[in-house]
């Protein structure tokens, strides 16, 4: 049996941020992800906003970690060469009563330490956010809000953790956790692993994983959010991320954009029972359009080019991050709903502190490779740069995905960096994410994936076993 100091369960942003943080110490680390790739759970449907911390109760743990996380994310994004764009957010008031609530919101946020907040008036909004509804009378402006690609973020955290010695095992589902003092035995469908500490970052399934070690003090309730993406032609639709005033359960329907420039509207917030319910609905579409129209009246339903749904892992109001004394060595990191993406690097630091408090020696490695080399995306660089790249490597000139301009080189690189599925290629490179949704490039991508991994094209999947693209083929396959 392989023995580790640390076993992390869950390869979302929380699990991979913890793995990356701990990989700076002389520890043996393993991370288990039940899906085919990291980021395929809750994280892939995240809206990608790095929140400033404006909409959290002043005494909350999530508020505190969000404000810290906003600062840490910037530094980490630089180290890992991930694009972080500071867009700023506006929480918009449409009535005197709402404008009054902005003052309290600002006070609460300042108490948490959110910097540079300002209440702006109608005139400011006209000038700085011209497509915002004329009905808006004031807004709370938080310049430190930013945008990041949630899946590329997770991939890069994972990749850097691996570079620093962490093991990431995908497609492994934890079935049982046995306490065999002084260590845990973690049983998966592919054998058992031993670990001194177990960190449960299992997202929607954190309650099930916690129960495996006898801790049943919380329940994860999925809260569904449907998001709708608009055509990239509308990239300049808004300058800031636009929010209505928050309700008790969500931040409302927002008008934001992805790190690749597509405006995005949503999400809904609906409590559901099924942890696998990722369906979008026509009611959700109506609700989101209505909410988005309130902020930006010019949004047209024909501009919607894609949509998806995600589930927030909700366990009460706040995050649960604690050592469980009844199962010594077991740490729960659960209920990480919004602003979990922002908070993740701060959560990782907090978990490191908990480990230290419980007797783990954190000794820095002599060599910690904190920087990651940036990959190039033709869609995101100027043409002169493309020219240089082609000179270096001709396959940058071999375009596979015509809508998003993705070369064969980038696809092969994505596979070399860990993509094993069609979705993995899409999230890393944007191939299939454009106007035609993969109609033109799917067959070529299947071939490259098959070639690079040595698999048959029949074994190529959208996102792991059970999602094979085709049913049968020629005998030669």
């Amino acid at each position: 049996m392989n023995l580790y100091d640390i076993a992390i369960i869950g390869g979302g942003v929380v699990g991979t941020a913890i793995a990356r943080e701990l990989s700076r110490y002389r520890l043996t680390i393993v991370l288990f992800e039940k899906e085919a790739e990291v980021a395929f759970g809750v994280s892939k449907s995240n809206s990608g906003i790095i929140h400033p911390g404006t909409q959290n109760p002043p005494a909350s743990l999530k508020g505190k970690l969000c404000v810290q996380g906003n600062i840490l994310t910037r530094r980490l994004a630089r180290e890992l060469a991930v694009d972080f764009k500071e867009a700023g957010e506006l929480i918009v008031a449409f009535s005197e009563e709402e404008a009054g609530r902005l003052i309290q919101l600002k006070k609460d946020a300042e108490a948490l330490g959110v910097p540079r907040l300002k209440i702006v008036d109608k005139k400011w909004l006209r000038k700085n956010e011209p497509n915002l509804s004329g009905e808006a009378i004031a807004a709370l402006y938080a310049p430190t809000a930013g945008i990041i690609s949630p899946y590329r973020w997770v991939y890069d955290l994972a990749e850097n953790a691996i570079q620093n010695g962490a093991e990431i095992r995908t497609g492994l589902e934890v079935k049982k956790i046995l306490a065999k003092k002084p260590r845990f035995e973690i049983v998966t469908q592919k054998g058992a692993f031993g670990a001194r500490f177990v960190i449960n970052a299992a997202g929607l399934y954190a309650d099930d994983v916690s129960a495996m070690s006898g801790i049943k003090n919380f329940k994860i309730k999925p809260r569904k959010g449907e998001e709708f993406l608009l055509d990239k032609k509308l990239e300049g639709l808004t300058k800031h991320l636009l929010f209505p005033l928050p309700s008790n359960i969500s931040k409302g329907i927002l008008v934001t954009r992805t790190s690749d420039g597509n405006p995005m509207i949503g999400p809904t917030a609906e409590d559901v029972d099924d942890k696998t319910d990722l369906s979008t609905t026509s009611e959700g579409f109506r609700k989101v359009l209505e909410g988005a129209h309130k902020l930006v009246p010019s949004i047209n339903e024909n501009d919607v080019i894609a949509y998806f749904a995600g589930l927030r892992p909700v366990a009460g109001e706040d995050f649960i991050i604690r050592h469980e004394d009844e199962a010594p060595g077991f740490i729960n990191v659960a209920g990480i709903q919004s602003p979990g993406l922002t908070a993740a690097p701060a959560i990782a630091l907090m978990v490191a502190g908990i480990l230290r408090d419980h007797g783990l020696l954190l000794k820095k490695k002599a060599v910690f490779r904190k920087h990651r080399k940036k990959e190039y995306h033709l869609f995101a660089i100027p043409i002169a740069k493309t020219k240089k790249l082609i000179k270096k490597d001709a396959s940058y000139g071999d375009i596979v995905c015509r809508c998003e301009m993705v070369s064969a080189k980038e696809v092969r690189e994505a596979i070399a960096r860990g993509a094993t599925t069609m979705d993995g290629i899409k999230f890393r490179t944007r191939a299939q994410a454009g106007r035609c949704h993969g109609s033109f490039c799917t067959t070529r991508l299947m071939k490259i994936l098959a070639q690079e991994t040595g698999l048959s094209r029949l074994a190529v999947t959208k996102r792991g076993k059970g999602s094979e693209l085709v049913k049968t083929g020629r005998v030669s396959d």
Binding site: S282, T386, G397, H437, K465, L469, V470, D477
Partner: protein
């Protein structure tokens, strides 16, 4: 920067016909850019018959139809054909930047003919709710998988929309041993050709549901079923008419859109609704010297009509160039 009299973007039936016609009308300095590794465009995957009835008075398959033009163009040495050439930028003065494995090139033609074809509308464009499992294909992608790649996408198929490619694929799947469980068309009649309804659907006893729509796609990893309901005149579902069809594959065949993102970059005015160039005359655009032909001008039912209109575009471009001298 290379200068040319005429550049044609696209080596499908439209680009081939336009290039040959421009040559026959006196233009000798022609560059044809094709992004794929072979000429013929989408015709290569259309292995069924029905092409050429009007133009050649013969019944041909898609590859046979394309081959007649490919043979002809290959004999014209002054037309340079550049394969695997992908245009990334088009400027107002018609300067084109294109990528080829190994290089990035710029060329400025005196006239430009865009023959970039069309793409299929997606499930997302018609807002079909539900999950996003494996097993959802545009009809054209399914056609490519079967006819070019030798891969069968699925065994139990539901087709959304009754566009021509969808109808043709209903027959193709049936011939490959799959079961087509139904074609769901929201309109009261087909949007495809009548001959395709008869030869591809009715002759094979495939159920076609007019005035019905797919309410939802189900399945987590792979498509499991679709929910369908009857609609009223306003396309709204009629309560109580809902039923499910179990299937492992959904094909989407809900129409085609001209591919004109490049000329939009050059400032050509595009009709937002149809994605065609706004035009006073067939093949013309709002920018003098930029012509658009074939399915990127508007979506045609028959390739024969694409050929005829593209020949006209070749002639128009030739006259335009001669007029500059």
């Amino acid at each position: 920067m290379i200068k040319r009299d005429l550049v044609i973007v696209g080596g499908g039936p439209a680009g081939l016909a336009a290039a040959i016609s421009a040559y026959e009308n006196g233009i000798k300095d022609i560059l044809l850019l094709e992004r794929d590794q072979y000429l013929g465009g989408l015709l290569n995957q259309c292995i069924h018959t029905g092409f050429g009835i009007e133009y050649f008075k013969e019944v041909l398959t898609g590859p046979e139809y394309a081959d007649r033009f490919i043979r002809k163009i290959k004999n014209i040495t002054s037309i340079e054909i550049s394969l695997r050439s992908f245009v990334v930028r088009l400027e107002k003065d018609k300067t084109l930047t294109y990528l080829k494995p190994g290089g990035l090139f710029t060329v400025r033609p005196r006239a430009l003919i865009m023959a970039t074809g069309c793409r299929e509308k997606t499930r997302e464009m018609v807002h079909i709710p539900g999950t996003r499992p494996a097993g959802i294909f545009s009809a054209g992608l399914a056609q490519k998988l079967i006819n070019i790649e030798g891969l069968l996408p699925g065994k139990e198929v539901v087709i959304i929309g009754s566009g021509d490619i969808g109808l043709i694929m209903a027959r193709r799947f049936t011939l490959e041993g799959a079961e087509v469980k139904g074609i769901i068309e929201i309109q009261p009649t087909t949007r495809g050709l009548l001959r395709n309804v008869v030869q591809c659907v009715e002759d094979f006893g495939i159920p076609i549901y007019f005035n019905h729509k797919v309410l939802r796609i189900h399945g987590s990893d792979r498509v499991e079923k679709v929910s369908v309901a009857k609609v009223d005149e306003k396309m709204n579902e009629i309560a109580g008419t809902e039923f499910d069809i179990e299937c492992d594959t959904v094909l989407v065949s809900v129409g085609l859109i001209p591919e004109n993102e490049l000329i939009e970059m050059a400032g050509v005015i595009i009709d937002k609704r149809t994605n065609s160039p706004v035009s006073t005359e067939v093949n013309k655009t709002s920018v003098p010297g930029i012509f658009v032909c074939g399915n990127s001008y508007k979506v045609y039912d028959y390739v024969d009509s694409v050929t005829v209109d593209s020949q006209l575009a070749g002639k128009m471009a030739a006259e335009y160039i001669k007029g500059l001298d």
